[in-house]
Amino acid sequence: MTNTLVFVDLPTSDVKAASEFYRELFGWTVNGRPEGVFHQVVPGEGLHLGLWSEIEQFPDPAPRPPQPRSGLQARTYILVDASPGEYLNKAVILGATALWEQGYWEEFDGYHASFLDPWGNQIVMWWKPADN
């Protein structure tokens, strides 16, 4: 089926360090394609992600001049297997900035917490205890 979401990739000034951060935090497999420039993230099920260098900017055929990041950006939600608060603590220990502590969203019946990774990407961790 077309017109569906198939991939998300996050910019970073240090692809290798970002890969280590997410490997450590979520236990994801990360493949360099190529190493240090564009990394493919394989959570094991569902959508894959990418980490792309702000310098080379693969797969943009005409990379734009580097520009500082500001403002809020698209948020990526990860369905976590333990409380978002626990993952938030771990993310902060690894260098992330906490954006909000664990809370409940009644409209969507889920618990969530959020951080900004050390390279400026916002992640929301989502959890429904009944699913576990």
Partner: protein, 123 residues
């Protein structure tokens, strides 16, 4: 393995205009929950997406969202007609054996149009 991606949502100062843009471009169903604040997008196959109100303008590199389409040039032209800016015309990425084009929507989100190779979902 745990911890999959389940959702992505875009910031925009105008959730209604952004919703209309994506409804027209991709034919997506958008649920206002509530209208003008947080909109849920249902593309028909999960993961779903969302749109949330955010007044702060965005600058610099942003996460890119890849949408699989049958004809990237046609969707790119339609996006431009709706107010988007071309980032790149359709080209080939050898490492992933895929063809793609990209645009920046009028509110700063970047979308990569990934040509359907028939490898993601059975039609």
């Amino acid at each position: 393995m745990p911890n999959p991606v389940i959702f992505v949502d875009f910031p925009t100062p105008d959730p209604e205009a952004t919703s209309v843009f994506y409804e027209k471009l991709f034919g997506w169903q958008v649920n206002r929950r509530p209208a003008g604040e947080f909109h849920e997008i249902l593309p028909g196959v999960k993961p779903n997406l969302g749109i949330h109100r955010e007044e702060t303008p965005v600058a610099g590199p942003v996460p890119r969202v890849y949408v699989m389409v049958d004809e990237p040039p046609a969707f790119l032209a339609q996006a431009v007609e709706l107010g988007a800016t071309v980032l790149w015309e359709e080209t080939y990425w050898e490492e992933f054996d895929g063809r793609h084009a990209a645009f920046r929507d009028p509110w700063g989100a970047e979308i990569v149009l990934w040509r359907d190779k028939g490898t993601y979902y059975k039609s």
